[in-house]
Symmetry: D2
Subunit: 364 residues, 4 copies
């Protein structure tokens, strides 16, 4: 049941610390005979890679993934796929001074309280560096889903709010997402965010964000009641991402204030189709924990980067008061780089649920 | 890995449909030599029981739990505890007419799409009736935690918003929660909700709600990185509850707009204590997926009751358009009865995490 | 991961003690739309039922199974099936005197050492009474496999040795198995065993046994390398049965002394078939943990009944020497009643593996 | 639930093929603050390493393990330990000719039947090469157990039979095990085996073996009824090792013919000890699936090496008859190198069970 394992049939487990020799991943349950190479995975990693512009951490990592097993002559064999990325830019000296201090908002204190020891270099295991391996696993899931479901399948992640600044949903245009450094589907908001984040960075502060991930082309029926519901596992998947503090499905928290006669999405027969048309999608594509065939909609809240250039009050290993000043290279808004990670988790959950659904219902 | 199993070391699995002969539960991993009887569990069930006032469903169930195993001479033996509640008030006729229709907002359509068959009586397995067994399992977890952690341990659930009406946090008084039919800690808001819900009920509509559950007296160190984080499992636990569409920890979605120098909770040495004082709790007691020793704070959004007395558009088993009118007895706000369920899930997650924490770190 | 859960996709968990109010079972992952009723399960239980002849325990239990969920209008719904059998003939007084003594060969001492408490009535949770629920779960698996694989599928269990007396393999005739009280496929051996066991019973002793279970009509490809191999899970399944002390596949322990050129089963092309003919079956139908399409052959060794009418040396709760004399009703050879249990475990493993195989390999 | 994961709290998962770039392992649940380095693990691997004498395969691998994570400044941190061994001596050409043939006794046919593709180089994933990673994981478990249980804890594996030649139990001397190339505790038998295996090798045949693994210093109470019994998990652990076809506990299959009054190990009070003395150990240290405090005794049967220099009948990818002649370097008796693997699996099961036992029973 390893607590470092994610998924049931399609599953992956990761290892590695921010400043150790490497990070790695074991992906299991991959369908056999799927065309796959390291070149297929690399573009997903490149989307998440640090050092690409001034709004994300300036740490430079090649992040080149190596496939160590499970692929033979260009296709998967059905056996576990081992993935490895060597850490090349570690600069331990940046972090040395905080070996004995607990940075506020970080996991320093809780790791120490739990284990009585911690790898303090760059946050060790609690660093977002681990998410590179999730993106690699998610790449495999995404490639498999495209192979199985065809071109109607698509997972799209974007940032919909940075600090207090939201996008205008009426301007949402998915084709804009890769045209700015914020994965922002609203080009006007992207401009505003640029100015806002420059300000945040200069003032030594940081900003939170809200992300949205949708999946289309997902058949009705995915999700395992009662404790393996699709939304249950999406919530777990998203909440496991570093710095995420909230998850909602469809209209989410707004549903508290929406009356019942609007909240329950109505249906009508669709011309020439077995599946009905839904007249709205407050449910975010999931009813009773099972996909309805509508677009699946998840949003997640990410707290501001905890490493900031402002002096903060804390304590050290001896329980003594200290003032902590984080140096080093950090994102003013870690939420931005969460987009490829959230997309990856979405793809992993969907493939796993698809396999579990077929296993039980596809036997006769 | 049964998809009807919740938890890893302390775990429970449930069975049963709304209108079948019984609902049941198997609770495993219970510490041995814990004093326990059916009388200890019953008060937890009574808090959730339907039929207690006009704001919750008028279905009347004795909801008397029977312990079938795992308890001998008044104490637990460490073997699985089987629990059973017979369904006594089933009135199948109320539901007969919708055997072929899919009620909007319900799981009727998705269960049919998934399994090709469904027990349409009262929602079958998708009914909130199943949550009675979670409350019973949670009662055992709560009793065990009190035994292990002592009187500083306490889980408190309440409703903090119904429809658009929020409580005033400055009036929050936990001792008020049991003084009104809404599990409301703000007596002024409780009065307003009464008027509001009477209106909702009369108009044949329904209202959503936001719940808050806190846990105090929880030691630092609970939570298993990376995919068994405490907040990950709380998110899954809460999202698995019927009609929940959002979960947040601490300041949750608000953290998107809170600047980094406020969001990261600072610490100072505490007089005469090993553990530091935190100067705020935006993190909701969890950092890096591990408890910090602060109060754990979770909120969940519950959509409005889907069964309403208003005619709704839908389709039937043949894909034909139909107008659905739900009769029967229903809560105008299902969120209210979610409080004991959310408390139960909190207790189950905490006991399970405590056991996993001790297993790894308590060996030498 | 409940330690009382067996299986991954098709799974079951059981609860209940020998002399508690009831034993029960939750079966999960059952394919939907499978015709099923309590009457379909009952014959499997009747085969295992005590009190049928003088060679098995005289405890009389109706062992009538009740289906509490997961079946609607005569077919499975895909949701968990709850099963319950009330204990009707408990006669606690028979066992009262050994509340403080540890019976040699029983689990009395180890349960006490583990939990610091035990339900001493009839062995409590360690009693073979629990296996009735496995037979019920196995009945569902067997019915599902027949539905999926058709009439070529068949699981056959029998006793091949009692005490030192083996069957003559050349006389093996499966149609004889139900013609004697020993599940013996060799009618000559059955006669000998009758005389032998009468002797054993009269002398207050007991006898061990070796059982064989075969499965035919199983497609090639079932089994999950490396830690979910088909033989791995069969070994676990059989070893989990009370009193089993050994498991072997195919030629098993004999393979130590068989030279390599005989041990490796050769193949030849089969007329008019995709799958080859194997010229022998030393491997017992499993290669590399995966079924080969040949008959699957498992044997298990069961130790003699530990409850015997001879006085034995032991200690009590205070660590003082005592002489233990077990009264009550007991089988001279518990191995005999193990046959339906071993068949049930075989069917459960096969259905679970079939579902896992299809999940990974049946997607495109 | 990854099928390539072994264990529940202390767990490991492996990846890698015989002739891929590397094999690897992720070990999770390791207790924190355990002194550990690659140098501590290496001696365990060296015991298993090929190429050491003429009775094991002449493939030469440095088998140097690299620790990639989970260890910081010489001690474990509680986070997953990533282990990697690069494959250095792959000589793919040796195997090229059998890319289209199914070697009898190997997993070639079943992998092809299951996945529709296979890495045919050296058996791919089904090669015993994977067991090197188990030995590495087992090294960590063994080191942890010594730290926790002290010097009374000891796991000892040896070969007790090769082909038809058994050791004389009266000559069993554990200190002899490392004095011969067979892990043989009987120096007289070791001499005989040398002559016998030379003969086997020259004739192009191969021999099977029986191994024994014991564990002493194990406290009473380990083992989780009903489906996580200690013997259940040992059976699974051993059966998962390549070429193993049988597992027995204590007197195992012999118990079929041992009468009840001998089979049930009697107890007497022990001077100056809380725990009783057992007067025999037919149960192999396990009663009701729970350790009794006696020595734990497991034996496993390993079939003869399937790769032999004799021509064998088989079929190819097209279902056509072929004659297969395996070239390359192979052990005349693969069983010998199974000893460090079986020891490793024993240690892993014991540590995992110890953690699960403490988790449930060590809370108050």
């Amino acid at each position: 049941m390893s607590d470092n394992l994610f998924g049931k049939l399609f599953s992956f487990s990761t290892f590695g610390e921010s400043h150790g020799p490497a990070i790695g991943c074991l992906v299991d349950g991959v369908p056999p005979r799927l065309p796959l190479s390291a070149e297929d995975i690399q573009p997903y990693l490149d989307r998440r890679k640090p050092g690409q512009n001034r709004f994300v951490t300036q740490r430079r990592e090649a992040d080149e993934v190596e496939i160590l097993s499970g692929v033979f002559e260009g296709q998967t064999t059905g056996t576990p796929i081992g993935l490895l990325i060597r850490n090349t830019d570690q600069r331990s000296k940046d972090y040395g001074e905080i070996a004995r201090q607990f940075r506020p908002g970080h996991a320093d204190y809780t790791y120490q309280a739990k284990y009585g020891v911690r790898d303090y270099r760059g946050g060790g295991r609690s660093s977002a560096r681990e998410t590179a391996m999730r993106v690699a696993a998610g790449a495999i899931a995404d490639i498999a889903l495209r192979h199985i479901l065809g071109s109607s399948y698509k997972v799209i992640g974007s940032v919909v709010q940075i600090g207090p600044h939201k996008i205008d949903p009426s301007r949402f245009d998915a084709s804009e997402i890769d045209n700015n450094p914020f994965f922002c589907a609203d080009p006007v908001a992207a401009k505003d965010w640029e100015a806002y984040l420059d300000e945040v960075r200069k003032s030594g502060s940081s900003a939170g964000a809200i992300l949205q991930v949708t999946a289309s082309g997902i058949p009705a029926g995915l999700g395992q009641p009662i404790y393996g519901k699709l939304d249950t596992e999406l919530a777990a998947a998203m909440m496991s991402i570093n710095a995420v503090k909230g998850v909602e499905i469809g209209s989410g928290f707004d549903l508290a204030a929406i009356p019942g006669e609007i909240a329950g999405d109505e249906m009508r027969a669709a011309d020439g189709s077995d599946t009905p048309d839904f007249l709205s999608n407050h449910a975010g594509g999931i009813l009773g924990g099972i996909s309805s065939g509508q677009e699946i909609v998840v949003r997640l809240a990410i707290k501001p980067t905890s490493s900031i250039l402002t002096t903060r009050q804390s304590v050290d290993l001896d329980g003594k008061d200290v003032d902590v000043m984080t140096k080093g290279r950090h994102d003013p808004c870690v939420g931005i780089r969460g987009v490829p990670v959230a997309e990856a988790m979405m793809a992993c959950v969907l493939l796993d649920q698809l396999m579990r659904h077929k296993a039980q219902t596809g036997l006769f």
